[in-house]
Subunit: 352 residues, 4 copies
């Protein structure tokens, strides 16, 4: 038998790059583990899950064969504090509570919602419990975002719908070609976006062959998108789609001036993302397909100016567990740890 | 009415109720056959399909075991003219050509697009070939629609997206609570809406797990919806969804006056469809799911007033081959033949 | 507005044909309701569901718009005893307990497993709780089955895998062309076969894109299939498939004699089912597709003799909620009530 | 080994490790490109596709954003001969023809079927055209397989069904616990296994919700599995499943001796694969799920001894494009180039 090392060889230098994951039994947590397990510069420290403490990680995540032999630990400050960076993938409320107990200098990426909103009133309108305050917003592709994240010890990763919608919308508004009033968004997500808890409406039998809207006009990502894009009015309709992963966000905006052309819209997007490794403005005639982003940290964009309807239409596709969750977590962690921002992340999706 | 056998007994009176189907090898044609085969008052006359003439119907539609033994005929005037009503399910251009050859007093329902648009300029902007003129529009639920259809020999069945969007939008505009300008629609369809011709982007491997927009701002149902609803500006984004059937249309409209409430929107929809057998305004809190309409002629509706975004949002779910195609064909045919409008049609979907 | 009666007209004669459904909140119960709601000769009596008593039926089954306004009742003897026939769709153990309380002359179809097995030892090997004894087995297509059901007050509907496998296997063994030893079956089912209770492994996110075996060599339908077909040895591997409905059973049998041909296997199947309205032996070259049976009571069969491997292979497709559950219930009820056996049932599937 | 960037840094040493891909426009070719693009030690040389020469790779494979800017070349000897190793992913017949033109010392992995079978008669029974002769069989996990591949210039990658079935079956037969006669296999594959050419039965509308057998008793992987496992009689039923990727193979074998236990079967499998990086015998009670292998080169196995039916049942799950095609190609190429066998390959699947 020849040499068949699959795992990290001894000589990989992960000094200073140990990441713990709190709440790792959910889908986002599982995807964070998958990315970290394949990351060339990072070592996985504690992997905690309160309700599954003591159980093998592969009982919950049977796809993660490389973690065979590891078990979930209790979610304790001691277990987490040894790591160089802690990723928290806990429901809102719980992440702020846990973060408050960790040492002040601990680096944390919170994939929960607790630290995303600057405005306490916006928080209270969409979430219950007290407002925990805002951390650096974890979207490197926003102007100044990358630098702020790299300089932060505390980063709030973004909501899944918020990533897709913000990447489509932000340059349109920032460039001034679109009006910030009366933005209309319809965005559909695969079922993993709804989490791993067994709920009747998320059963395979219920979801197969079905599209259904939910939380219409009342989704908690609305204030987050407004904050990130400076949209003033945002109609947002989320839709559950019959697929495990993927978000397609369709964003329509009134143009600021008459005569705007599709080419001009393209130019704005192309300029905004020219140097971005993970945001791809597709060639003319190609429209995003969520499946093309599966397993990757990429966002695919395409746009048109519908002159007849007088609306700019921008569509964005991501993997909700990739750029929408675990991918951006790793991207932020890379920045915070001084690693190559793209390390351990895929540009290419797994298709078909 | 009493009907006790699925295999039509001799004594069923289908005198005057013989329906031929031209172009029956496609998905819509197959669904028309399925409904007619189970219809208590109708006998299937000629079943034609040019490219498959002479072949067993069940080679193309193996689910239609009740038609075992029947073969497709050539699409000829002679074959069709014997029927009391002809359903044409041919691509646009071909249906007008065929209809022009049929006797002037032949009753016809055209599921192609050729006779839907009153405005020749609108036709020419979205279709190629000459404008064939407009027939009675086949949507019984529009004011006066039912009576007009019953009195017509020629009826243009509606487009699949158009049915769902029009049922959601028409009462909002007709009642005056919504503004006809700046209507924004995002509508997703199952793959059968794209027809049965083998195309690379419709392969199972390509569609699985994928949502993708297409013909953004350029779909041919736009002028049809505008004509049916009197919307003046309509942004329309169609999306291909990973499911075989179903359309979910999300329609957002600016309210005409400040202070409009969700209850008032509900009242408008409830009033519009109170006596309709196939249009169901769901109870508060329930949102449409396309799977619930599968195999039926039903449309499920739900709405909200999003005061924060200042948009009315109405969502509609149908089976694109049911109310979106074959169901409405049979509904129109029932009216034109003087039968019970609901005969042979299902209110209940096949779920899960 | 013209006449738009959808529901049963006054003159339908359902005297003596009132059916109650106990445990109607599950998937099989919902499908029984769907079929009964469209049945030309049957009136739905009590609809009970212990855990959902008092709730609208459409909260649980939103596809059943024709039952809007009805609520689930408590599962009591009084509520059920008024009907002419009671369908029980309760988990095993509960159905026998309920049946024991109903009047001795009440007609009952039990879709639970309690009354299927003649052999108490076989029962005890695969189920817990005491053996309740055997009722007439609800498969009309078995020799003598139809007559026995029509003459019975108590009928045990068959298991979903058992229907598909038995219809494929029984004629092969009964005709003597196949050996009853060493039958090997691999059968895959859509998720609705696993019921409507929310369980982690049945979540849409878990099932999408996945085939997985379960209860390998230990499924409770094994003794039932052996009893129905007289197979002496049966290897049975069930597989969960990523689709809401459908069972495909692949049955392989050693031929009794050398030289058996595919044509001879076809003849045996064709002869066995020549007069059956719901069992269709497909033309040569066509293999069953589960989707072609969706929503129907049909079973599609195809077979070959693999001389190289010395195995007869028969494949059967059904809708697990159709012929596999609710369809056969209605078929049995029709026979027990003296109605046309096919009334209210579909031969044609809903496809694509 | 240290690799820290996904966009290959200058200093990565791919000297001697340039791989060309011939026929790269299909699904297997696309997956080979995806793996090579992320491979830390390999540089992609020519990428050819006759019918798409001159077109951007991303027009065909829009998920491969990292290859934006590259175009398909014509499939010529000159284009390919510059590489250190050529991967051929062409239909059978074409790969042998191309291989014959390449220099005698060119390293080649052929993912077509042309060079898999030793027995010319077996070739002629299942394929058309002349037998091209056999190359080293590309399954490193077979005894001696790894060493033979490493020492070869020409390797025939295995068929997708053959990998899954052989990994399940070979140790059972090699160990002597199972009989080589009367092996019965039912194996289901996702649609990508059928290739990327647009065919009617592979349309999304046709496949959704459907399982269907095909080539029953006549699949071309039968002689290959027999050759690799020494099975003497093999009943093989392939089934098309409604998912884009994944193969689940259910293999049943008569035990050689009475009294064989499940524990003994496990031991045989565990011993066979103890040191294998990509073959995982799951813990007791866990059964393989195809989704857990998506995007990986892993095979998940589980087995039981069904004493009642007297059959050993082994089930294997793989990604048909991973271990079933592109993954094994890269694994073989790694061995042939003297690289770490696991380089560029994933153990962990992308789930959910």
């Amino acid at each position: 038998m020849l040499c068949i090392e699959i795992h990290k060889p001894e000589e990989v230098d992960s000094m200073g790059n140990r990441i713990a994951v709190a709440g790792a039994s959910g889908y986002a947590g599982g995807e964070v583990l998958r990315l970290l397990a394949g990351h060339p510069n990072i070592e996985i420290a504690a992997v905690t899950a309160h309700s599954k403490a003591g159980q093998p990680v592969t009982d919950t995540h049977p796809h993660l064969r490389s973690l065979a032999g590891r078990t979930f630990a209790e979610t304790t400050v001691d277990a987490l504090a040894e790591a160089d960076l802690v990723v928290i993938t806990l429901p809102h409320g719980q992440s702020a509570e846990l973060a408050a107990k960790l040492p002040a200098d601990a680096k944390i990426v919170d994939l929960g919602a607790d630290h995303r909103l600057v405005d306490a009133a916006a928080w209270e309108a969409y979430y219950d419990g007290p407002h925990a305050g805002a951390w650096t917003y974890g979207l490197p592709e926003l102007p100044g975002g990358r630098e702020a994240i790299a300089a932060s010890k505390r980063v709030a990763a973004t909501g899944c719908y918020a990533v897709a919608t913000t990447l489509a919308l932000a340059p349109i508004l920032a460039s001034g070609i679109g009006q910030p009033d009366d933005v209309v968004v319809v965005a559909a997500s695969g079922t993993s976006g709804a989490g791993s808890a067994a709920k009747p409406h998320l059963m395979a039998s219920e979801v197969a062959g079905s599209l259904s809207p939910y939380k219409v006009g009342a989704h908690q990502h609305v204030p987050e998108i407004k904050q990130a894009t400076r949209a003033r009015s945002l109609s947002f309709t989320p839709v559950l789609a019959p697929m495990p992963r993927g978000i397609l966000s369709t964003v329509t905006v009134k143009p600021a001036d008459a005569g705007l052309t599709t080419a001009e819209v393209h130019e704005v997007l192309a300029a905004a993302y020219a140097d971005e490794p993970f945001v791809h403005v597709l060639p003319n005639g190609s429209w995003p397909r969520t499946a093309d982003t599966l397993g990757s940290n990429s966002c695919h964009l395409q746009a048109t100016m519908d002159s007849d309807a007088d609306r700019i239409i921008v569509t964005a596709a991501i993997d909700n567990l990739g750029k929408g969750a675990a991918g951006q977590v790793v991207q932020c962690a890379n920045l915070m740890l001084g690693l190559d921002e793209t390390a351990g992340l895929n540009v290419d999706g797994v298709a078909p």
